[in-house]
């Protein structure tokens, strides 16, 4: 868990008793991406301007309705960080001319799916990092192009069945490590979160807010529609993602990556895979031992150095 010392969220009961994000959005029932955004928005607050790459979340604000208390801008799928640059520049001009005060200034937040983030949006993201843009890059990772029916994206995990990898072995590739891409380029802050761990989440958003410069938040977003499970399981699946070590909760600050949760003992990955329709082919009609072993080995390899460090 991130250091609670400076946080106003010391324990679960400090979590907000109501949410700032409005109800009535078009997101699916049980959407894990909406869960993460809802929790984050309570900390980000209304002095936030969202710049949204085309995806599920671009249906959050459909004219004439918005769930936000502040501004929201829609950009083409590849261009949200470029849009964020424009908004930041405009705010800076207003600040310089004395047209807005420090208190009235807005936090610029890119809202993007993993498809845009790991694919056509990478170039604009890279440019924003190069220019040291002062923004938060919030990616809800539902591991596919959700809005258009869950096609494979660069962040789809190995073996997941998608609309474009529908056969009985699923996606043959491996999930792109967006966190590592960011961390390698020395952002002001980067963290992974998940809606099912709200305390860890709000502390990381609090921390992200306390920095300036390029900051990244990557939220694994259980997606009942695209992953094929009953919406009421969204949080359980989030917990399993953490407990199996599939989704490491971590942060990057000052050149160092550290984990805010070390699952110990780690549950076998199949506990996470089993309840999801997209992995059903790994269990039915017969168990695909080779694939299960391969996925487990990947997770084991990720944790090996961290676990060795902890034992030492």
């Amino acid at each position: 868990m991130p250091d609670a010392g400076a946080s106003r969220f010391r324990r679960m009961r400090d979590l907000p008793s109501s949410h700032m994000l409005g109800a009535g959005t078009a997101m699916c029932a049980g959407c894990g991406g909406l869960a993460a955004l809802t929790e984050a928005y309570d900390v980000l607050g209304e002095n936030t301007v969202f710049v949204n790459a085309a995806g599920c979340m671009s249906l959050m604000s459909v004219y004439p309705f918005t769930p936000f208390r502040g501004s929201w801008l829609y950009t083409a799928m590849a261009s949200a960080p470029a849009g964020a640059q424009g908004v930041r520049d405009a705010l800076d001009v207003l600040r310089a001319r004395g047209r807005i005060t420090v208190q009235e200034d807005l936090q610029v937040v890119v809202l993007t799916g993993d498809g845009a983030a790991g694919g056509m949006g990478l170039s604009a993201t890279s440019g924003a990092i190069d220019r040291g843009l002062d923004f938060i890059y919030f990616c809800y990772d539902n591991e596919g192009y959700g809005n258009t029916g869950q096609q494979t994206s660069a962040l789809t995990p190995h073996a997941a069945a998608t609309a474009t990898d529908a056969g009985n072995s699923g996606f043959p590739g491996w999930k792109k490590d967006l966190f590592a891409l960011w961390a390698a380029n020395k952002p002001a802050y980067a963290a992974t979160i998940i809606g099912g761990e709200p305390l860890d989440l709000v502390r990381k958003i609090e921390k992200a807010r306390s920095f300036s410069g390029p900051r990244m938040i990557l939220a694994l977003s259980p997606c009942p529609t695209g992953w094929g499970y009953d919406p009421k399981l969204s949080i359980e699946i989030a917990h399993l993602a953490v407990k199996t070590g599939i989704w490491p909760l971590k942060e990057y600050i000052d050149g160092r990556v550290s984990h805010t949760r070390m699952p110990h003992p780690r549950l076998p990955v199949e506990e996470y895979l089993k309840p999801q329709g997209r992995f059903a082919h790994l269990f039915e009609p017969r168990r695909n031992e080779a694939a299960l072993r391969e996925i487990q080995a990947g997770v084991d390899a990720y944790w090996a150095p961290w676990e060795a460090q902890r034992e030492a």
Partner: protein
């Protein structure tokens, strides 16, 4: 030309219904268009799909405005204006509706000019089997059209559902045979209308709007959080009900479990569910530590409310 529109909720298989029906028409030698309205597929949200079939080339495009058959897979959609279920309804149009209520009740309530048929599988189907609704609708529509043999309907189902495995296909074939047989008394009731011609098109009474500047005419929203005017509570098929006697008042659990900001806590920690916006994901039911939140089918909850009885979960 046959013009058929399927209305349902995301997850009920309306796209599949249109594909199966389209495929079956095609196997019968028709020219076919089948499409889902392009938009986001949201589980629980109103969606529709449509099929055109004709013996000659089809030049019409876009959403069907004058349907010959409207299939409604979920009768709660009728009340949602935005779902557009009754759009383009005319005297010759047949309405097939999945409902526990009678055809006469619907005909009177909606003042329907044409025939109304109830999808009869309704009472035998359990809540969890919603996935079969699409296939049922396709089979019923195929029979009502009167020009699709059962053999081609079944072939279409086999082709469209093949990726889901033999077991699912077999199950759906059974459901389809059942629905097809039950519609037999109405076989052929749907009329194939002639081609529409631009010459017959009557323009609506235009209202000329003055040309405004971007600050007025642009799609900018100035009121925050007005999404709450959208009643997403209508998506719900199951209703979470809190048993306050069992509630521990650990409301941070249920408040943060709700992705839709539809639970908030009173000052004393008692949670309250906003039924105008609860989409019925049942995450709070799954997460409540003392199991104080139960799930009640929405139809039952509404019936109890109507009868002035309290709604409580038997758990």
């Amino acid at each position: 030309m046959y013009r058929i529109r399927f209305h349902g909720r995301g997850g009920q298989g309306m796209k599949t219904a249109s594909r199966i029906l389209g495929e079956a028409f095609f196997l019968e030698g028709f020219e076919v268009q089948d499409a889902q309205r392009y938009g986001a597929e949201r589980r629980g949200a109103p969606i529709f799909a449509y099929v055109r079939a004709a013996k000659e080339a089809i030049h019409e495009r876009g959403v069907i405005a004058r349907p010959g058959l409207i299939v409604v897979a979920d009768d709660t959609l009728v009340a949602i204006a935005a779902a557009g279920v009754m759009q383009g309804l005319n005297e010759d149009c047949v309405v097939l509706i999945d409902s526990a209520e009678s055809a006469a009740a619907w005909a009177e309530r909606l003042n329907l000019p044409g025939p109304v048929i109830i999808l009869p599988a309704h009472d035998t189907r359990e809540a969890g089997e919603a996935a079969f609704v699409g296939v049922e609708c396709a089979a019923a529509a195929a029979c009502l059209a009167g020009v699709i043999s059962q053999a081609y309907l079944e072939e279409a189902i086999r082709r469209e559902l093949a990726p889901m495995g033999d077991e699912v296909v077999a199950q759906n074939l059974g459901i389809a045979a059942d629905a097809y047989a039950k519609m037999e008394p109405y076989a052929g009731i749907v009329r194939a209308d002639g081609t529409l011609s631009a010459r017959a098109y009557k323009p609506p009474d235009w209202v000329d709007l003055p040309l405004e500047g971007v600050s007025l005419a642009g799609p900018a929203i100035y009121g925050g959080v007005n999404s709450e005017l959208t009643n997403t509570g209508l998506w719900r098929t199951m209703r979470p009900v809190i048993d306050l006697e069992r509630c521990n008042k650990c409301s941070w659990v249920c408040v943060s479990s709700c992705p839709d900001s539809a639970i908030q806590a009173r000052a004393d920690g008692t949670p309250e569910i906003d039924l105008d916006h609860c989409k019925g994901c049942m995450l709070c039911v799954a997460q409540c530590p003392p199991h104080a939140i139960g799930a009640v089918p929405e139809t039952e909850a509404l019936a109890r409310e109507k009868a002035g009885e309290p709604v409580c979960a038997a758990n």
